[in-house]
């Protein structure tokens, strides 16, 4: 498991998104070694396959190959729009937060 090329990261789902993930906000995750680098785009599909519990509500998390519009993604407290969005290459110990804006105010 503890392959040198695997990545240890944390993912957080907040502002209501946690209901899709068994009401657990913070997940410590080990991403397995891969031929190509891990990007946020690949992580989304990995989350869908491995963390998402409410599979039938996947459309509340993803739309097409990206997050549903209205979900903000932050990597180590930085807006992913500054980091190349889906193309951002994940680094060891990254903390990746998904914040929903799609609830009542």
């Amino acid at each position: 498991m503890e392959n040198s090329d695997s990545l240890k990261i944390t993912t957080e789902f907040t502002s209501g998104l946690q209901i899709l993930f068994g009401h657990v906000k913070k997940h410590n995750v080990v991403l397995p070694k891969m031929e190509k680098p891990w990007t946020l785009g690949l992580l989304l599909f990995w989350i869908k396959d491995n963390l998402l519990i409410e599979k039938d509500k996947c459309d509340l998390f993803m739309k097409g190959n990206t997050v549903r519009p209205g979900i903000i993604v932050a990597v180590n407290d930085q807006d992913w729009e500054l980091l190349g969005n889906l193309n951002y290459q994940i680094k060891n110990n990254d903390n990746i937060t998904f914040i929903s804006t799609l609830h009542g105010g």
């Binding site: 807006d79 937060t97 804006t101 799609l102 105010g105």
Partner: protein, 333 residues
């Protein structure tokens, strides 16, 4: 490569603003965010010195950020406002009871007085009870109509000069779209007003009218504000949901869409020969109404008579139904 703050302060940027495309660091973002709301307040003449302002507080992100920002600006720019929190308890178990806990925390943190009014005490019906009568289809109508009036009543009890609500730019753009889709020209005009003044009611204003939802959420996130984010257990207001999804899709393609839609709403004018509803007073409760009997009273009458669908839909239909009853007189007022 870290992106630098475009305000040239030397710090690394933490976000890209949807409204301007600027990349800003945390401190410059806070400053810009608060300053823009300050400008909105000043340009729109939302408050006068010495005003008592009720913040309509739900415990959600918008009203929590509104309370935080109004408190900050009131101190920074000497507005000399007295700020109070006003919350409506609709009586929705698993939703409002939890969100009101957040409001109670806000009260302590911001040291503002808090008034909570419940549907139960105002109307004798909680939303939980209403839903057992009407089911899940039209319950949002009851909730919306009752909340609007409940806020007015609360504001009158508190003797405030105006009510500030947390409606943000996304909300307003969404409402413009919905009013266009429904052909509701009266509301289309009204919904973009930054202050709505109705005779006999307390003025309402929207200090976050030009503030993007993304920025509100990022502000709350970076300030570590505690807010409540559960969707209402009865919520699926399907029509609004579609409008919201459509708007969010547009925003992704072109972030200025939200401001563009608000701008369209502000500049549209209604032809002179279009008949607009006339404002009057409800003959039953004395609140402002465009009909003899206001929507809230009609809904309530339906509930109390065991005809929960009475006030849903056109008022002319409701009047006919009422007239056809053996005892058409209103019993419960």
């Amino acid at each position: 490569m870290p992106v630098l703050c475009s305000a040239k302060c030397g710090q690394n940027a933490v976000l890209k603003r949807p409204k301007t495309g600027d990349t800003l660091c945390k401190e410059c973002f806070f400053w810009a965010f608060e300053l823009e709301i300050h400008s909105t307040i000043i340009n729109g003449k939302l408050f006068k010195k010495g005003n008592v302002v009720a913040i309509a507080a739900s415990g959600g992100k918008d009203s929590t950020v509104l309370a935080q920002v109004l408190k900050t600006l009131n101190e920074r720019y000497n507005y000399e406002l007295k700020l109070v929190l006003l919350s409506i308890d609709e009586g929705i178990t698993g939703y409002r009871d939890d969100s009101l806990k957040t409001v109670l925390e806000n009260k302590d943190e911001y040291q503002m007085p808090l008034k909570i009014l419940s549907y139960e005490q105002l109307y004798g019906w909680s939303m939980d009870k209403i839903v057992t009568e009407v089911g899940h289809k039209n319950n949002c109508t009851f909730c919306g109509v009752f909340r609007r009036q409940a806020l007015d009543r609360g504001a009158m009890l508190l003797n405030v000069d105006c009510i500030a609500t947390g409606h943000n730019a996304d909300d307003i753009a969404e409402t413009v779209l919905m009013n266009i889709l429904r052909g509701d020209v009266a509301r289309l005009q009204r919904c973009v007003n930054i202050i709505t003044i109705t005779e006999g009611a307390i003025p309402r204003c929207k200090p976050l009218k030009y503030t993007y939802e993304k920025e509100i959420v990022m502000y709350a996130y970076f300030k570590k504000l505690n807010y409540f984010s559960t969707e209402c257990v009865y919520a699926p207001n399907a029509y609004r949901g579609y409008a919201r999804t459509f708007l969010k899709d547009l925003e992704r393609l072109k972030p200025s869409s939200i401001m563009d839609i608000i701008h369209s709403g502000e500049t549209m004018c209604i032809k002179e020969n279009i008949k607009m509803p006339e404002k009057g007073i409800c003959t039953k409760c004395g609140f402002v109404s465009s009909r003899d009997i206001c929507k809230a009273c009609m809904l309530l009458e339906g509930l109390n008579r065991g005809l929960p669908k009475l006030g849903i839909g056109k008022s002319s239909k409701a009047n006919k139904t009422l007239a056809a009853l053996p005892n058409p007189r209103f019993l419960n007022f």
